[in-house]
Amino acid sequence: MSTPEVKLITKIIRELSMFLMLHGYEQFSIETDKEKTLTTFRVKVKTLDEKTKNTMLEKLNRAREIEIETYGWQLVGDLDQKSELEIVGSLVDDAKIEEENGHHSIIITRKNPYLKKH
């Protein structure tokens, strides 16, 4: 996996962590599953309130924006407000939230663009 991709993945983890902590969720775990073409983030957290859950789904399910890949990504992981997650939303392809045994699992996937051929 390329270094820029690794840097970006770690920034996304940081932003997700900050978002949850700023919303009062201090116990959570984040696992990443890195394949050659796809990275999956699995965030396990105690039950999210409805507002936070909807905010996350709305922001993370924005359409992928290829131009943010090369421009705004350095700001990822540097939240200034509780509500910010927009840039991460532009960098991931899909997000869903599953409920299991009183916990929520936020599953986010991102395709690696550094493998595209011209």
Binding site: A63, E69, Y71, L79, Q81, S83, Y114
Partner: protein
């Protein structure tokens, strides 16, 4: 035919704006004047502030603006890119700076440099579109090396093209890095990055080749077309506002939510709030710019028109009345002091700053009206110094200054805030 109509409908606002500019060029000037003026533009060194209205007249300048916009719109179509906020802002910024410093000739080598960088990174060229659209702010380095050095064309043309390509090659990585310096509170981030590069070029040209840029820097501008350009501003604003209402008659219901945005990079109003309300905001920002210009008795030169179009463009990418007006008031306050103490002779640099100060609009968006006014005031204080630093190759001198303003003020304002992270919910 059906496809052409569908395309025209989709891009009606921008196509109409383009048509108005081409039409005004030929209505207000003769083809002969346009041709001769356009050649003057292509051969101008382009260093700040090369007012093309002063150099070549209104017809040739409008032709330059419209033709550069047309080329960039074609490029966006070829790359199959959607019209997002950053892309819209990039297009209008290009249009604005085509009034003073940009032309087709000096922008192409920079695009080629970015293309080569994309190839090296194994990424698609279109993923660099934001950098591409804003990169040409440093295009005067190409024109200066070719037409300003006095070298023979055999040496100056390759030098200009190579340095332009090198600049384009460096810029994507460098501008991604500089965004962290001001944490996204300077909307003209690429202007800041290019200011640093311009500083380097100025130093090399001065120390190694003995060039002084001072004689090339000029504040000679033409205000002879004030009325025409004020009219153009109002027509363009009306086009964008009309487009918003035609697309959605209930569009204003979306405005309060947009006005809550801090505007910090990367705030794409088109994507976050919809094209309809983004276009309304673009038009409103145009009218606000015109009001400031009229209220402060500023005559519209090419540089001022560049400022107006840039403010309008960023109406889709971070600026709105609530975050822009406070910083404009801060700049206007200093403008007023200078106006009164210098018998009305303020200088074009400060006049355009009243518009370009909106680079730091996110500071007002995040920290409120009073700190926004303060940031605007500090910004105009810093401007003359940053021009000396960077030499004049970076057309976005306000972006260069805004980078420092944000980097200095934001950490202080953050430290003063007790409720970090608890502020308005934003978008």
């Amino acid at each position: 035919m059906h496809k052409i109509f569908a395309y025209l409908k989709k891009r009606i606002a921008i196509i109409t704006a383009l048509f108005v500019m081409f039409a005004m060029a030929f209505v207000l000037d003769s083809p002969q004047n346009i041709y001769e003026g356009y050649l003057e533009i292509l051969q101008s060194p382009g260093v700040l502030i090369s007012d093309y209205l002063y150099i070549a007249g209104l017809g040739a300048t409008l032709f330059n603006v419209a033709s550069i916009m047309l080329i960039n719109i074609v490029m966006l179509e070829v790359l199959r890119l959607k019209m997002t906020g950053p892309i819209f802002a990039g297009l209008l910024t290009i249009a604005g700076f085509s009034f003073f410093g940009k032309n087709i000739f000096n922008t192409i080598p920079i695009y080629i440099g970015i293309y080569l960088y994309a190839r090296m990174q194994n990424l698609e060229f279109k993923s660099f579109i934001i950098v591409v659209l804003f990169s040409t702010g440093i295009s005067p380095i190409v024109s200066f090396l070719i037409f300003g050095t006095g070298w023979s064309y055999a040496a100056s043309i390759p030098a200009g093209i190579l340095v332009g390509m090198l600049t384009g090659f460096i810029l994507p990585a460098f501008s991604a890095h500089t965004i962290r310096f001001h944490k996204g509170y300077n909307l003209y981030n690429i202007g800041f990055a290019m200011g640093v590069l311009s500083m380097l070029y100025t130093a090399i040209l001065g120390m190694v080749f003995g060039f002084e840029l001072e004689p090339f820097r000029s504040d000679e501008t033409s205000e002879a077309f004030h009325n025409e350009l004020l009219f153009l501003t109002l027509v363009l604003s009306a086009i964008f506002i009309a487009w918003g209402f035609i697309a959605n008659t209930q569009v204003l219901k979306k405005y309060p939510k947009l006005l809550k945005s801090t505007g910090r990079l990367v705030s794409d109003f088109v994507r976050d709030h919809g094209m309809d309300i983004a276009m309304i905001n673009v038009g409103v920002m145009g009218i606000i710019s015109a009001l400031f210009v009229v209220a402060l008795n500023i005559d519209i030169s090419g540089a001022v028109m560049g400022g107006i179009l840039t403010v309008m463009g960023f109406g889709a990418f971070g600026k709105h009345p609530k975050n822009a007006v406070p910083v404009m008031l801060g700049a206007a306050f200093w403008y007023g002091i200078l106006y009164m103490t210098n018998d009305g002779d303020v200088g074009v640099g400060i006049a355009i700053a009243v518009l370009f100060v909106t680079a730091v609009a996110p500071i007002a968006g995040r920290f409120g009206v009073f700190l926004g006014i303060f940031a605007g005031f500090i910004h105009v204080m810093l401007l003359p110094l940053t021009l000396q630093f960077q030499g004049g190759f970076d057309l976005y001198n306000n972006g260069f200054a805004a980078g420092f303003v944000a980097a200095i003020l934001v950490p202080i304002f953050e430290a003063l805030r007790k409720n970090n992270g608890e502020e308005a919910e934003g978008v």
